[in-house]
């Protein structure tokens, strides 16, 4: 007797296949479109140097957006990522330059502090049930304040060579930050799609009550998601400081909005349950392409902001339309 249950997505008409289009598809297509538009307008775009720059420049955004994706999957949000990045970079500067500690000690300390910050966020949100928006908004102000307080507002320059290598080094001609960002995105995607933890995160975002009743360790997974987000924020902050060769409390000011936009453009839903770091990656690339195109064309940053904001709304609209289409077809 033929089983009516197929373990693979069946064939069927094109219309039936269309909703299987992944959430990050829109970001990828958008990025390609923008790339084409910019390439037509600027001869300087399609050079290996410029393209390499773009991947290097957007690496930090991609990494922070990936961390954000973990949290957004649980229907949470982390507004403090840029502040945590700044704090971690500032700490690294203070430890390694002002106090002459070896760079890897500084690096480890910063990542550990980041994990602690993430755990704190996770406990406040998951155990005390405070809204993530409020907790991390407070974090945004507090952690940046701590960073500024640490150095009295002074930026540290002259960071150790390995740190600067993280931000600006090359391996076989490929920028190190680009390699790191691709690795982070790849590993994160595997975790979210192919592990029990990843399934649990998505279940928490999709139907927390059901997940809890099914035996998913909601509190533990939620805290882990916030820890991952903060640790990746620290990594990004250190890479950015290495790239600028400047570590201080004003690093990545206001960057959190770009981070959330990158994730949302990439199809990671603010309501939880859907999305993947691959989307965050393409969302970051899309934003980077717009910035690159504007810089090459000499367009003012005000217009850049308008365009980026418009793309964000458009991307989320496309994603909603895709879901709507899926429901109508069945």
């Amino acid at each position: 007797m033929t089983s009516k249950n197929d373990t693979r997505s069946g064939g069927g008409s094109l219309l039936h296949r269309l909703p299987a289009f992944p959430p990050w598809g829109a970001a990828l297509i958008g990025a390609l479109l923008v790339a084409i538009v910019v390439a037509i307008g600027n001869d300087a775009f399609l050079t290996s140097r410029n393209l390499s720059n773009i991947f290097a420049q957007t690496a930090v955004l991609a990494i922070l957006a990936t961390g954000q994706a973990f949290v957004m999957l649980t229907a949470g949000i982390d507004l403090s990522v840029a502040a945590v990045a700044a704090l971690s970079a500032t700490m690294l500067g203070v430890l390694t330059v002002a106090n002459d500690l070896p760079w890897f000690v500084g690096l480890v300390v910063c990542l550990v502090v980041g994990a602690a910050i993430g755990a704190l966020h996770g406990v406040l949100v998951g155990r005390l049930l405070l809204p993530a928006f409020i907790v991390t908004l407070g974090g945004l102000m507090v952690w940046r304040g701590v960073a500024l307080q640490l150095t009295g507002g002074i930026n540290t320059t002259g960071l150790a060579d390995p740190i600067r290598w993280l931000g600006r080094g090359l391996v076989a001609g490929v920028p190190v930050p680009a390699i790191i960002s691709v690795l982070v995105v790849a590993v994160s995607t595997l975790v979210i799609v192919k592990t029990k933890f990843g399934v649990g995160l998505r279940a928490i975002g999709g139907a927390e009550g059901a997940a809890a009743r099914a035996g998913v360790p909601v509190l533990r997974y939620r805290i882990t998601a916030y820890v991952i987000c903060s640790v990746l924020a620290c990594l990004g902050g250190i890479m950015l400081a290495g790239r600028l060769d400047s570590a201080g409390g004003n690093l990545a000011q206001g960057f959190e909005l770009q981070v959330i936009a990158a994730a949302a453009i990439g199809g990671v839903s603010l309501f939880g349950g859907t999305g993947s770091p691959v989307g965050a990656f393409f969302g970051a690339i899309l934003i980077g392409l717009i910035q690159n195109g504007m810089n090459l064309g000499g367009v003012s940053p005000f217009i850049q902001q308008i365009v980026s904001g418009g793309i964000l709304v458009l991307a989320v609209g496309v994603d909603q339309f895709r879901k709507y289409l899926a429901r109508r077809i069945l």
Binding site: R8, K196, R202, G206, A207, G209, R213, A214, G215
Partner: protein, 255 residues
């Protein structure tokens, strides 16, 4: 409806003796005595506020009784919570189905108890889960387009079927269901009723809380009538008519 052991089995699957549940000054369940045998489909009926929901929750381990014994397979247990109840083989299909709509069918079937490969990372054994899901659904004759379909894209009846399949996977023997077809259309209701019957044929018992007398008549073996916390009547379904049951519920007829 056959396959039910004609002679009552010696040891009932579930038995309650003198169970009392109070909330402050209110007695929600008063001296409940019942038994459910393997493979039986038992209807639990009563008016609003009669105590159906409380009784289901006591069986499911969500609430603990003040007095009385709950026996599973003849042994008395103090069921401390839903996880404990699950380990005793009792599972509940909730109104909201406890499904994650954004995840696919196979993932939902295994939610919270995924099959993982050896090693520390919790790496999913997706192929095996899909194969076992397919097997389980086939055995219950549940039809779905594809195991990778997100549950939110299924019809209400299909979702109910998945929720029931999930509850029965893993050797659970008593499934408590609260109005499973209340929100479904005629065709889908029929399908779910067939599924319940198949469960019973496989020796799984079902406690069906229902207001739908036609459904009760169609698929249940026995009817338990609750009124104001007391079990006022117990009948074999074959022996009563729908009107009789209604009268028992409202008290127009006494036991």
């Amino acid at each position: 409806m056959s396959a039910l052991n004609e002679a009552m089995t010696a040891v009932p699957l579930l038995e309650m003796r003198g169970v009392i549940k109070r909330f402050g000054g209110v007695t929600a369940l008063d001296d409940i005595n019942l038994r459910i045998d393997p493979g039986e489909v038992v209807a639990l009926v009563g008016d609003n506020g009669a105590g159906k929901s409380t009784l289901s929750k006591v069986i499911a381990g969500v609430l603990q009784p003040e007095d009385g014994d709950v026996l599973v397979d003849g042994t008395a247990h103090k069921i401390t919570g839903p996880t404990h109840a699950r380990s005793l083989g009792i599972e509940v299909v909730y109104q909201d189905l406890a499904l994650a709509p954004n995840l696919d069918i196979a993932t939902n079937l295994f939610l919270g108890r995924e099959i993982v490969r050896r090693g520390a990372f919790g790496w999913l054994n997706t192929r095996r889960m899909r194969a076992e899901a397919k097997e389980h659904l086939d055995s219950l004759d549940v039809n779905v387009p594809s195991l990778t379909t997100p549950v939110e894209r299924l019809s209400g009846g299909q979702r109910q079927a998945i929720a029931i399949s999930r509850a029965t996977y893993g050797g659970h023997r008593l499934i408590v269901m609260d109005e499973p077809t209340a929100a479904l259309g005629v065709r889908e209701t029929a399908k779910v009723e067939q599924l319940i019957t198949r469960l019973s044929e496989r020796g799984i018992s079902v406690l069906l809380v229902s207001h739908n007398m036609a459904q009760v008549k169609k698929i249940t073996h026995r009817v338990l009538v609750l009124r104001r916390g007391r079990l006022v009547a117990e009948r074999r379904t074959a022996d009563v008519s729908a009107e009789d049951v209604v009268s028992l519920i409202t008290g127009a007829r006494e036991e």
